[in-house]
């Protein structure tokens, strides 16, 4: 094998190594973006589960209702509001 052939092989090996490095770098960026997206999903699910874990079941309070349309401001309802909400029309 001549020196020129060896040089070509060395260049080829070096180029492939750098290409592999570049691909790994790109893959690493994708993985970071994927991990970021996963983190957001995990935090969202955790918040939902924490709400359930901390919900006051003993008092039967509807003040912890997460639906802002049913309970605007997430405040405990007054007795009058509760009666009004439970009233069945004739």
């Amino acid at each position: 094998m001549t020196k020129e052939q060896l040089a070509i092989l060395a260049l080829q090996a070096g180029f492939e190594a750098l290409l592999g490095l570049f691909r790994r770098h790109q893959q690493g960026e994708n993985v970071t973006a994927d991990l970021d997206a996963l983190l957001k999903k995990v935090q969202s699910l955790k918040a939902e589960e924490e709400f359930i874990a901390n919900e006051d079941l003993g008092t039967g309070s509807v003040g912890s209702d997460p639906n802002p349309l049913i309970n605007p401001g997430n405040k405990p309802l007054t007795t009058e509001e509760l009666i009004k909400g439970l009233k069945v029309e004739d």
Partner: protein, 144 residues
Amino acid sequence: MYQYQSFKAMIACWGVALVIALSINACAGFKPAVKRLGDATYEAVLTARNTADNMVANGSMSKIQRQEFAKNITVPTLTILEQAIIDTLAWKEGEPIPENVSRLIGQLTKSADDILKTFGKDSNLHSNMLKAKSAAQEFLDKVQ
């Protein structure tokens, strides 16, 4: 003589580039492994959560049991998973494995047992937990 020296220098340069590239390639599997482990854990917890909600809806689980399930299984698992992902995002090559990633594997095994005890042999849960466990095993094989 000059040409031969240049040739040797070129070979040495490319040799160094090759060694660096191979070293980085060898370390780069950590984040993808945590990603697979995280995905499997998230899917397992999500499926368990949905199953628990369905059980509450059809009356086979009380709200108090659902709350205990959230307190003892879903929240602790998701908390450690969240920390493990945050630590992995900050992790740099050459650093030791973040402690929370190791803790996640222990928590996952505990949660898998708890979930199977709570739900029995529900097919979705069972297959998801197996997936999470195999991801954990794959992770251990890779980092050890």
